[in-house]
């Protein structure tokens, strides 16, 4: 028995409507340039530090860092008509970054960088919400972008301010050593300054300036008990050493 004529037509209409939808999607993607977030080469090393860089007038590159439960920077003010290239990463769990009222909608997955571009044609306060459940204070995690006719250049709040912290980040120390007491490949920096360290050779030494500088230049001579001897040599200027030490001293329990 052959298939009913109305059913055949219904089938053709279904296929045709899907084809039309696909055509419209193709047009919006290539014709209007609205794509889903693209792929930054896998395995590229994520940045560690939030920052704002001005490339040219009204053209900014913003690096967002997400963590439980805040974004850095928290407030960014830019003039109306600005274009932002947004790069975002997470330091702990998976977060989301949605700028309400725009097409910026990113997942921030550990180990990867997400990116999108947004143009602010109209002034206003744009809320950035974390829209991926990230733990008990998820609902507190937001930031904002203020777009205004009244300003000529950007200003920003909520970036890490300490030079020492930035250096620890830039030199890669924070990959193994936490600053909040949590466990890592190496011991945490929190409360470590001035405290005794048990070494694998059985001796005990205080974490002070002498030990810090010796460890940086000859990491294999000082190995803390219960941790793997994997630290690389890190060369620092005297200024950098002073800034890092000042920061570490401030990291009390």
């Amino acid at each position: 028995m052959s298939i009913n004529v109305f059913e055949k037509r219904a089938f053709l209409v279904s296929v045709a409507s899907v084809a039309v939808s696909l055509g419209l999607i193709a047009y919006s993607t290539w014709g209007m340039g609205i794509n889903v977030p693209t792929c930054i080469p896998l395995g590229s090393k994520p940045f560690q530090q939030a920052s704002v860089t001005k490339h040219e007038d009204k053209n900014y590159e913003v690096h967002y860092v997400a963590r439980m439960w805040a974004f850095e920077p928290t407030v960014l003010r830019v003039p109306t008509g600005s274009t932002l290239d947004i790069f975002a990463m997470t330091k702990d769990v998976t977060h989301g970054l949605l700028i309400a009222g725009t097409n910026v909608n990113l997942m921030l997955v550990p180990g990867a960088v997400a990116t999108s571009r947004v143009h602010f044609a109209k002034p206003g306060i744009y809320t950035i919400v974390c829209h991926e459940y990230c733990g008990r204070n998820h609902q507190n995690m937001n930031a904002r972008i203020e777009v205004s006719d009244q300003i000529a250049d950007y200003s920003v709040e909520g970036l890490p301010t300490s030079e020492g912290m930035k250096l620890l980040d830039a030199k890669g120390c924070l990959a193994c050593h936490s600053v909040d007491g949590s466990a890592g490949v190496g011991p945490t920096f929190k409360g470590a300054w001035g405290a005794p360290l048990q070494l694998v050779d059985g001796s005990t030494r205080r974490f002070d300036s002498a030990l810090f500088q010796e460890k940086m230049s000859h990491p294999d001579t000082i190995v803390v008990k219960d941790y793997p001897p994997v630290m690389p040599v890190i060369s620092l200027t005297d200024d950098e050493i002073a800034q890092m030490e000042e920061y570490l001293e401030g990291l009390q329990k």
Partner: protein, 559 residues
């Protein structure tokens, strides 16, 4: 032929235990809308945290209730339509595994050890027993298919040349999709989440884990939907007083869903980093193709209803719509299926929005998403489960439905509730309102610097809709409990599901054999997922340590 006595008992447990658990699921649904609107401004109510309640709502309603119903309904259809005895040992083993898994998982959530939502969300880490419970539950749900296959093959040998009953084709399709979809998630749990939560591995490849989850997460939707499609094709035309317009349409739909359910999970990850736009685009196209069987279903069911309405004296191009049995307490099941269809119209359209690649940027992870799926899993699927459960439970116990009028009112009230609820959440979602967020503490709290006045009305529409949905559930339980305590009527005939005759009974060989469709489905999955999974498994993506939902300090692991 009456179902085997032991099978009847197993089916009753499989329907009534999840309905009892659903009381918690529904209670947390109503609490959700109160948290969302700011009617509750707290982290917890009665000792259960918002995100813990949300996990219960998702696990119980979307996993436990749906899967138990699919198994119970599947046993009923296969046993009735093939007029065959099935393995009671197999059915009992399945029930035992699913019950133990569900209880283990639920206990971990109630204890607050697993507030990670049913999507797992690594690197948030739950208690290992949460993951173990889910694996046992899923393995239990694999068993029925393997007890049905020999029964099906024997029936085919003994009935050469006859077409397999359409309902059986639908049920086997349901569980073939389930088998294909659950292998990656079982792998994710056993190879990634479980060793990591036990501290045997220090990190987890989050992108791989997300991708394995969504390989499962979207066909899960079709696993929910297929039993309802079986009811639409095999029961609804009969309930309307007519015949199924096309037998071919049903068989084609079931086979097409076997083919297309799995290779399109990436459309849940359009916003993810680490996946090329090519991979996303390919699965985006496949996602739109899967609408074809649903569009054909919409036509076939509408044509079947028209056929029934014209038999009842319906006239004119549209006038026949008035002749369907909308308000007949004797035929209380009809509105459960009919309202589900109406709701699904909107669920389907908004689903196409989500799937439409670049358009996803506007709605991904916003309140739009729960608005959409409360019109799918919370619409036709949920009403199918409520109606089907009441039909089978009362039928097997030979009890009357008390009362038919009240039972009939439930789907209409539920439909009104979902429309109000979803209107609010669609609207809020378009304005950036996030899903799965305790809005009352911040965004819906006028004293908070994060307050969003423009989300007030959308969130309150969501709340009012949620109350109406809660009322419908309350009424349903009144009907169910009154029916359960009513005296049985031994004079009633042995229970059987209503089944429709086909109007056009086409015989198309291409849709009469599962094997080529399953083989093509496997090939398509490999083609669609090879590139993204190769990238994720082999790249330098660092693995992430675990975090508990209540602390930003990573879970310490042994070295």
């Amino acid at each position: 032929m009456e179902l085997q006595a032991n099978l009847r008992r197993i089916i009753l447990v499989e329907l009534l235990v999840p309905l009892a658990l659903f009381i918690f699921g529904a209670y947390h649904g109503v609490l959700q809308v109160m948290y969302l609107s700011g009617a509750i401004r707290a982290t917890s109510v009665a000792g259960i945290d918002y995100y813990q309640g949300l996990t219960l709502h998702g696990v119980i309603n979307a996993i436990v209730l749906t899967t138990f119903f699919a198994v119970a309904f599947g046993y009923t259809v296969v046993s009735q339509e093939l007029k065959s005895r099935v393995s009671i040992a197999g059915a009992a083993l399945s029930l035992f595994l699913m019950l133990s898994g569900a209880v283990m998982t639920a206990v971990m959530v109630f204890l607050g050890k697993a507030s990670v939502l049913y999507t797992f969300y690594p690197p948030l880490m739950a208690h290992p027993l949460f993951y173990v419970g889910l694996v046992i539950f899923i393995v239990g749900s694999w068993v029925p298919l393997y007890t049905w296959i020999p029964v099906y093959l024997r029936w085919r040998r003994e009935n050469r040349g006859l077409k397999t009953p359409l309902g059986v084709v639908g049920i086997l399709s349901t569980f073939i999709v389930w088998q294909m979809a659950t292998i990656p998630v079982a792998f994710e749990v056993l190879a990634q989440l479980l060793p990591w939560s036990l501290g045997w591995t220090s990190g987890i490849n989050v992108m791989l884990s997300r991708t394995l989850f969504w390989f499962f997460g979207h066909p899960l939707v079709y696993f929910w939907l297929l039993p309802t499609y079986v009811m639409y094709y095999t029961m609804l035309p009969r309930l309307a007083g007519g015949k199924l317009f096309s037998d071919f349409a049903g068989r084609f739909t079931f086979m097409a869903l076997i083919l297309l359910s799995c290779p399109l999970g990436l459309h849940h990850q359009f916003a993810d980093p680490g996946i090329s736009t090519t991979s996303k685009g390919i699965q985006g196209v496949l996602t739109l193709l899967v609408t074809i069987p649903s569009l054909l279903t919409a036509f076939t069911i509408a044509a079947s209803l028209e056929f029934a309405a014209r038999l009842r004296g319906g006239k004119g191009l549209l006038g026949w719509w008035s002749k369907l049995p909308y308000f007949n307490p004797e035929n209380w099941l009809f509105p459960y299926l009919f309202c589900g269809l109406l709701i699904f119209l909107f669920g389907g359209i908004t689903g196409i929005v989500n799937a439409s690649y670049s358009m996803n940027n506007v709605v991904h992870n916003t309140a739009w998403i729960p608005a959409h799926f409360h019109l799918t899993v919370g619409g036709p699927i949920f009403l199918g489960i409520l109606g089907g459960s009441l039909l089978i439970v009362t039928g097997l116990l030979k009890k009357p439905v008390v009362s038919g009028t009240m039972a009939m009112a439930v789907p209409y009230i539920w439909m009104a509730g979902t429309f109000v609820f979803s209107t609010g959440l669609f609207w809020g979602g378009l304005r950036g309102e996030p899903r799965r967020t305790n809005l009352g503490l911040t965004y819906m709290n006028p004293t908070s610097p994060s307050y969003r006045a423009d989300w007030w009305l959308p969130a309150h529409l969501g709340m009012w809709g949620g109350y109406i949905m809660g009322l419908a559930v309350l009424l349903y339980f009144v009907v169910l409990i009154r029916s359960l305590v009513a005296a049985p009527n031994a004079a009633l005939a042995p229970f059987s599901l209503p089944t429709s005759e086909p109007y056009h009974d086409e015989d198309v060989a291409a849709v009469r054999n599962f094997t080529p469709w399953v083989a093509a489905a496997v090939l398509l999955c490999v083609a669609a997922y090879y590139a993204p999974i190769r990238d994720m498994a082999s790249n330098g993506l660092s693995t992430a340590p675990g975090f508990r939902p209540d602390s930003p300090a990573r879970v310490s692991t042994t070295h």
